[in-house]
């Protein structure tokens, strides 16, 4: 490692991963992305391998089940954002204080908002699965 003076802080990467500080921002939308791609693949492969006019009953429940799982995971993330980061769901925020706690609260706040957006987007994806009956 580089020579270090006592006043020099340690490297940042382990902290980022240990606390999940930045990753929590992208976690919820990543879950949306995973659900979206899985739903797309399940439906696409189902329709490609079984042909047009096939009923979509099974993929429907796979997509809905995945959606429920993913939303549960997002709720878990939201709880983490509230409890560990101190995120709050308010319209006007002014988390401008220069402190580690404020930085955490800011990350928590944005993460919480992203959880809501991702959950809504997952519901958007589930709707067509519920409506369309066949390929």
């Amino acid at each position: 490692m580089a020579p270090r003076n006592k006043t020099v802080p340690p490297g940042d990467a382990p902290r980022v991963i240990d606390q999940g500080s930045v990753w929590i921002l992208v976690a919820a939308p990543s879950i949306w992305a995973a659900h979206f791609l899985l739903s797309y693949w399940v439906a696409a492969i189902w329709c490609a391998k079984l042909g047009r006019g096939t009923t979509l009953m099974e993929p429907r429940w796979i997509i809905a089940g995945l959606g429920a799982l993913c939303i549960a995971a997002i709720i878990g993330l939201a709880v983490l954002a509230i409890r560990r980061y101190g995120g709050v769901f308010v319209i006007i925020e002014e988390i401008t204080e220069s402190s580690e706690r404020a930085r955490d609260r800011f990350v928590g706040h944005v993460a919480l908002l992203l959880c809501v957006l991702s959950a809504v987007a997952i519901l958007f994806t589930v709707i067509p699965g519920m409506v369309l009956g066949e390929c």
Binding site: M1, A2, P3, R4, N5, T7, V8, P9, G11, D12, A13, R15, V16, V22, L25, V26, P29, S30, W32, A33, F36, S39, Y40, A43, A44, I45, C47, A48, K49, R52, L56, P59, I91, I92, E93, E94, I95, T96, S98, E100, A102, R103, R105, F106, V107, V110, L113, L114, L117, S118, V120, A121, F124, T125, I127, P128, G129, V131, L132, C135
Partner: protein
């Protein structure tokens, strides 16, 4: 955190000493001086490169705009024969291509390179020579692509180059190759800029600028650069497949040989749709920066805007199929993408509401930048609403490929991208030139462009609904589109006249005009801290930031910075220095030394450009020669300009802060650059993996019978050898750390034959099973995966020999071993690639029952 440095409790600055201040300024000036005369082309500083980038992008914009006027002239009256059909095809293809690839994306990089370091209170971005390299690549590639029209060989297959029109040499000539190779080359420069900007925002922030204090502009830059990293590589993968088919007849898109033209559309739009947001977000970021200044208060809902930027970035990757609604995909697939296309309107709308809220709660000062920003919002909202319409599958089936879509996309792009950019031009012009633009001309240009734009594009909604298809060369009077087209043409010329007024306003020589006062708009962000007249060093001393709008909220800051009371106020060692900070709280980590003016990057970009251009004409010997030149220049640049062992292990950075002068591993920007580049590389690889599974889904008999599979044994041997090569890199790093430089060198070099043998075993496995890439899509896919691995192994070999040489010459030592650490990181990705390819070639067919 126990080891936290409390930046607010640093010892006070030493009392002001005029002689010391002047001496420090003189030393800084000497170090950061921009070369003069023709030597200026060797400059790498962000203020020079940024300006060139900006002017070049606008030059391409003017060129593409001129093509648009020709298109409009051709369509002004029915049965017009002003242009030949072949030329018309070239014009609209080049118009779209140049606007997208040579203007919209590069201008984001240009603006970011120009203002990001200053907004961050930094002296430069962490890799100035990389910015310069990217710029030269962009210039050469752009001239090549645009110049082709003067020889009548410009690409003519539409800006999305659909197969099989573009893959069949009977229908498409040299133009398609120029498009593919020229743009691949420009994509290299975009990815270079993305790496630069991500590391810039994450690691080059001023001490104290925690995540919650980062200006909105920087959030947008971070998000957009991240998007580039995931959006551009799939297109590079697609370009590779298409060029292999065009040049060597490999079977990727030809249905007769088990290929599928739709694959290109997927790969293109996985890039193409996020690209729309890659263009839109950085421009909206300009409004987010300008608005608080004229509102005189912080943005309402700062974190909501961060949320929308991140949210849009993700959702925009779930939209690509909405360009393919009429390709016959199952309706269930279409509806997923329709749903995501509607969902993306939510975060996009949130940003607009935040802007409106900020304007509502404050009294907005009237100014030309705000005029453009207001016009932008009006036009963009209109385009967004038609976007919600075409996101609905049944409506899109009606409007697809009609002028309605032309109208929609121009409303979103001109409202979402061009007008905010013009607002930015008026706003930052005094920052760049220290002179003021004419407000009167500014207002004239706005109203001409705003009026002309609406006159040109509003009628297109009706021409589209009345059935006029995109890209038609001419039409008949009986079609009933004549009046509307004439109106559009008049509007287009009025719009162009507005741009001419703007260009005159920008380029007007203002040599004798008085300099502007410092921070003339009374803005809160750091770029306005620049002294008047401007200095090449960016900031006199790098400040401690603990607010979101430092110039409003840290009243003493300007004086403290000017007196050199903050960090790195001097350049005693005669080196260009930056402070690298940590991602979360921007705690100072180390002092980075960056390279100064250099011709090496220029030589490197020139050779790489020659490689792409010569490959277009299949001049393989010269291509190889220039390829060697590119490697030579790049290695020379790296050898002399990176990971230099410092003359002392640490230095006083001011205010009692002592920082190391060398970093390795994840403390160093270089490590992050490798990590980010390789993430992009993996995305391109994922494009190939996607192709494999796409074929498997779309074709009933993609996987051949057991007799025609590559030999499992040879594949396994190859994998073992490749993984052994990876282990040598790990061991080399360990041995080097322990002081065994000889062993480290031996291990590094030993990895080269291991890689060669490994890829040889894979090649043999495919060859002995009789695989011919021109035969079927499976054969071609197998070979392209092996080729991908082979190209990476070549790079790996060059890097290993380079690091071994660095160890040999004691430029990479047990104590200072960044090169070795970065190489190891690269080999991690290589090993992962090898394992995935093995799974695709050996395991997946087995899993699917082909034994």
């Amino acid at each position: 955190m126990t080891q936290e440095i409390d930046l607010s409790k640093l010892p006070p600055a030493e009392p002001y000493d005029k002689a010391r201040d002047e001496a420090q300024r003189a030393r800084l000036m000497k170090v950061w001086k921009t070369p003069t005369g023709w030597r200026r082309i060797s400059a790498v500083n962000n203020s020079s490169v940024g300006k060139w980038y900006l002017l070049t992008s606008f030059a391409f914009f003017t060129f593409a705009g001129f093509l648009a006027l020709l298109i409009r002239a051709q369509l002004a009256v029915p049965n017009n024969d002003l242009l030949s059909q072949s030329l018309y095809n070239q014009l609209f293809t080049l118009h779209g291509t140049a606007m997208m690839f040579l203007f919209a994306v590069p201008i984001f990089e240009a603006v970011a390179i120009l203002i990001l370091p200053e907004i961050l209170g930094a002296r430069d971005l962490p890799f100035p020579r990389l910015s310069a390299f990217g710029y030269w690549c962009f210039l050469i590639g752009g001239l090549f692509v645009c110049g082709s029209v003067f020889f009548g060989v410009a690409p003519d297959g539409g800006w999305f180059m659909y197969t099989p029109l573009s893959s069949d040499p009977d229908y498409s000539g040299l133009g398609a190759d120029i498009w593919l190779l020229g743009l691949s080359f420009i994509e290299v420069s975009s990815i270079a800029a993305a790496v630069e900007l991500i590391v810039g925002v994450l690691k080059s922030r001023p001490p104290g600028m925690r995540l919650n204090l980062i200006p909105l502009y920087c959030w947008y830059v971070l998000v957009v650069a991240g998007m580039i990293l995931f959006a551009f590589p799939p297109l590079i993968a697609g370009d590779l497949l298409l060029e292999m088919e065009r040049a060597f007849n490999w079977a990727f898109f030809d249905p007769d040989r088990g290929g599928d033209p739709l694959l290109w559309q997927h790969l293109f739009w996985i890039f193409g749709h996020p690209e729309v947001y890659i263009i839109f977000l950085p421009s909206i970021a300009l409004i987010a920066t300008i608005l608080p200044t004229f509102a005189g208060r912080p943005m309402v809902g700062h974190s909501w805007i961060v949320l929308s930027a991140v949210g849009v970035a993700f959702l925009s990757f779930g939209l690509w199929v909405h360009h393919m609604f009429t390709t016959g995909l199952p309706e269930i697939s279409l509806s997923f993408f329709s749903a995501a296309s509607e969902a993306v309107a939510v975060p996009t709308g949130i940003q607009i509401f935040c802007f409106i809220a900020t304007m509502l709660v404050s009294k907005v000062r009237r100014s030309v930048p705000m005029l453009f920003a207001g016009g932008a919002l009006a036009i963009f909202v209109f385009g967004g609403l038609t976007g919600v319409m075409v996101a609905l599958v049944p409506f899109d089936w009606q409007a697809h490929d009609s002028y309605f879509v032309v109208a929609h996309l121009h409303y979103t792009l001109i409202g979402g991208m061009l007008f905010p950019l013009f607002a930015g031009v008026h706003y930052w012009y005094p920052f760049v030139t220290q002179k003021r633009m004419s407000d009167k001309l500014g207002r004239w240009s706005f109203w001409l462009m705003f009026g002309g734009f609406n006159l040109a594009f509003l009628p297109m909604h009706w021409t589209g609904v009345m059935g006029m298809p995109r890209r038609v060369w001419t039409y008949d009077v009986s079609d009933g589109w004549a009046v509307l087209n004439m109106v559009s043409t008049i509007g287009a010329f009025i719009f162009a006249s507005g741009f001419v007024v703007l260009a005159v306003n920008v380029l007007w020589p203002r040599g004798k005009a008085p300099l502007v006062e410092r921070n003339l708009w009374n803005a809160g962000t750091m770029e306005w801290s620049a002294e008047v007249p401007d200095k090449p060093w960016g900031v006199r001393s790098i400040p401690y930031i603990h607010t979101r709008y430092p110039l409003w909220e840290q009243k003493e800051l300007l004086g403290e910075m000017d007196r050199g009371e903050w960090f790195l106020p001097d350049a005693e060692e005669g080196k260009r220095e930056l402070i690298i900070t940590d991602i979360l709280d921007a705690r100072p980590l180390y002092v980075q030394r960056v390279g100064g003016p250099s011709y090496l990057t220029l030589g490197s970009a020139f050779c790489l450009g020659a490689v792409f251009i010569l490959a277009t004409f299949h001049l393989w010997t010269l291509t190889l020669l220039f390829g060697a030149g590119f490697i030579g220049f790049t290695l020379w640049w790296l050898w002399t300009g990176t990971s230099e062992i410092p003359e002392k292990p640490e230095k006083e950075a001011g205010r009692g802060l002592v920082l190391p002068t060398y970093a390795q591993g994840n403390n160093s920007p270089g490590w992050w650059a490798v990590f980010i580049t390789m993430t992009g590389d993996m995305t391109a690889f994922m494009g190939l993996v996607f192709s494999y599974f796409f074929y498997w889904t779309a074709l009933p008999d993609f996987l051949p019978g057991a007799a025609r599979l590559p030999g499992f044994g040879w594949l396994l041997v190859g994998l073992a050898l490749l993984l052994a090569g990876w282990v040598t890199a790990l061991l080399a790093r360990e041995r080097l750390t322990a002081g065994g430089t000889g062993q480290a060198m031996a291990l590094l070099v030993a990895g080269v034959p291991l890689g060669a043998l490994g890829i040889g075993a894979w090649g043999w496995a495919a060859r002995s099973a009789g695989f011919d890439p021109t035969e079927t899509s499976f054969d071609a896919t197998v070979w392209v995966l092996i080729l991908w691995m082979g190209l990476h192994l070549l790079l790996d070999a060059v890097m290993r020999l380079y690091v071994a040489a660095r160890v040999w010459r004691s430029r990479c030592t047990p104590r200072y071993r960044a090169d070795s650490v970065n190489l190891t990181l690269f080999t991690h990705f290589l090993a992962l690639t090898a394992v995935v390819i093995f799974a695709l070639l050996a395991l997946f067919p087995m899993l699917m029952g082909v034994v």
